[in-house]
Amino acid sequence: MGSRASSLLREEDIEEIKKETGFSHSQITRLYSRFHSLDKGENGALSREDFQRIPELAINPLGDRIINAFFPEGEDQVNFRGFMRTLAHFRPVEDNEKNKDPTAEPLNSRNNKLLFAFRLYDLDRDDKISRDELLQVLRMMVGVNISDEQLGSIADRTIQEADTNGDMSISFSEFIKVLEKVDVEQKMSIRFLH
């Protein structure tokens, strides 16, 4: 007797993930069940197709970018550790009270949440959102409903408002500045139960 899912996850692994991400023991086992149910190939790792099989994600305009965020540079598979590491960005900040480790910045800090969002735009990871990159994301979100010219002027206006050093692109610090009043902690957090 024993279950197929949780027998593959050892206690040491759970402890390590707990330290790294801040999720509780029960949250980790529940998320492992979910990971396992998405893993159709049953090889301990998720591919992009596994994510695409979720209908709500497949119809999300930014679906591909979100899926991309799970996969490290150039890789096609994400294991459970990587899965949890990415999800950890969305833990609410108040849950950190118990785990005060001053040395490491937690994955779900305001800064890291903003960095996650920044990377949705910054596809080539050069720490700048160029006009083209911004246009790409805009196009994904609006589909065919807005013309190229209109979209272009929206992109120009956005860059103009955010760009303080005149290099016609948005750096991470400029990104943070523009959004400094937005409640990032709440908007980029998911309420994980128990």
């Binding site: 949250q27 994600l57 497949a58 949705l120 807005i146 929206i154």
Partner: protein, 428 residues
């Protein structure tokens, strides 16, 4: 020595058959219950209650179900250049991002194609996904249960099923030889009904029918939510229906071909099913003939795990005729009736059915519905679906059951893009 050994075996088999036939098959055929199943269920409930071993459930996350517009306006509220519509802000992406991550952790659809998780363990290994060793006593009872289910109940049930199906094939073939008459129809009904009753015993099924006054009548279409092939046995225990479906090969095909000899069922060749007009015509012709039994259709088109009702295909609702909606809800405590056709083939599925404790379910006959003036088939289908979901305590979803195997339509993404665009440029 050899001789007496075989004599003994034969004797045991004779006694066995006598017990089965006398105590189970015969009463079943006459619709009489000797009360064994009810007693068995009572005992089971007692045992499971006493050994209430809770395993975790509840959702993983709490989702935000506000509309796109509400959530994006909220997002932009604290932005320095706040316009509620007619502008784009960098934080708009947060909405899609959060929605996406939420769906990765917990989505509404993929869970419908696997078995429902239970609140407390019912002593079947298969339902214990997150097993933790609980106690010696529970393990002993589990072991005992295993022995009873596999060594006593399973052979009994297989025998019953075999008897039931052979009776169906032989009986319908014989009746099929008769000339068309009222007697033939009556005999056909009897044969079908008794066979399904035997099969129901073969699953230790305890079925409760509600609102029998709304039972489907001839010339109508009976429509129900689909969880497993056993749905047919459940419904046919209380009425005679004309089945609709694709004709198969093998044993299934034999049964189908003999059934249709005694009364009209609607079987299609695989190629015919692609032609929607031909299908619709045959169904129309069937219900036009008021002497034929009501058609039984499962508009979801595939098996769902009995926690929700998914999109009803409009085909059955375009034919005309009166729709008799039926809601079927299984009690998962005694056995999981859902057929996960991707994971199990028919044989392993039936084996799992026959080694469960029992199949306990409720059937509600809902008042008949017809298409209203100015209503289109899709709207009518949704109306019927909601009625069934409400009665059965199931979640009413618009997602297509076909998502079990196919990709979702991109038109849903386009809808979202359109909605978002109107927020950026404002209404035209």
């Amino acid at each position: 020595m050899e001789g007496s050994y075989w004599d003994l075996v034969l004797l045991v088999m004779e006694v066995w058959l006598f017990v089965v036939l006398g105590l189970i098959v015969l009463p079943a055929m006459f619709g009489v219950s000797l009360g064994f199943t009810d007693l068995y269920i009572k005992v089971l409930v007692k045992i499971l209650e006493v050994n209430n071993t809770l395993i975790q459930t509840s959702r993983i996350i709490e989702r935000n179900d506000d509309s796109m517009e509400e959530q994006i306006v909220e997002l932009r509220r604290s932005h320095p250049k706040f316009h509620s519509v007619g502008d784009f802000t960098l934080c708009d992406a947060f909405y899609f991002c959060k929605k996406g991550i939420e769906s990765i952790v917990d989505d509404e659809v993929t869970q419908r194609f696997t078995s429902e998780e239970l609140v407390s363990w019912n002593l079947l290994t298969r339902t214990n996904i997150n097993f933790h060793y609980i106690s010696v006593r529970v393990t002993i009872i589990w072991g005992l249960g295993l022995f009873i289910r596999y060594c006593i109940l399973l052979p009994l049930r297989v025998t019953l099923a075999a008897i039931g199906l052979s009776w169906l094939v032989i009986g319908t073939t014989l009746v099929g030889l008769l000339p068309n008459s009222n007697v033939k129809n009556w005999l056909s009904d009897v044969i079908h009904m008794t066979c399904y009753r035997i099969c129901a015993r073969g699953l230790s099924a305890r079925i409760r029918y509600h609102s029998k006054e709304n039972r489907p009548k001839k010339g109508g279409i009976c429509v129900a939510n689909h969880t497993s092939p056993i749905d047919i046995v459940i419904l046919a225990n209380d009425g005679c229906y004309a089945m609709v479906g694709q004709i198969h090969g093998g044993l299934m095909g034999v049964i189908q071909r003999s059934m249709v000899r005694s009364c009209p069922h609607v079987w299609f060749e695989r190629s015919e099913m692609k032609d929607r007009h031909a299908v619709a015509k045959r169904l129309k012709d069937h219900i036009a003939d008021k002497s034929k039994q009501p058609i039984l259709i499962f508009p979801e088109g595939t098996c769902i795990n009995n926690t929700s009702v998914m999109m009803f295909k409009k085909g059955s609702f375009e034919i005309g005729g009166t729709i008799y909606p039926v809601a079927i809800k299984y009690d998962p405590q005694f056995g999981d009736a859902f057929w996960n056709s991707g994971k199990y083939n028919m044989v392993s599925y039936l084996l799992r059915m026959m080694t469960s404790w029992a199949i306990v379910c409720n059937v509600w006959y809902l008042p008949p519905m017809s298409i209203q003036d100015g209503e289109d088939a899709v709207h009518f289908a949704n109306r019927v679906k909601s009625a069934i979901a409400l009665q059965g305590g199931l979640m009413d979803l618009s997602w297509d059951g076909g998502l079990k195997r196919e990709k979702v339509k991109q038109s849903f993404k386009e809808e979202q893009q359109k909605m978002y665009s109107s927020m950026i440029v404002g209404q035209d």
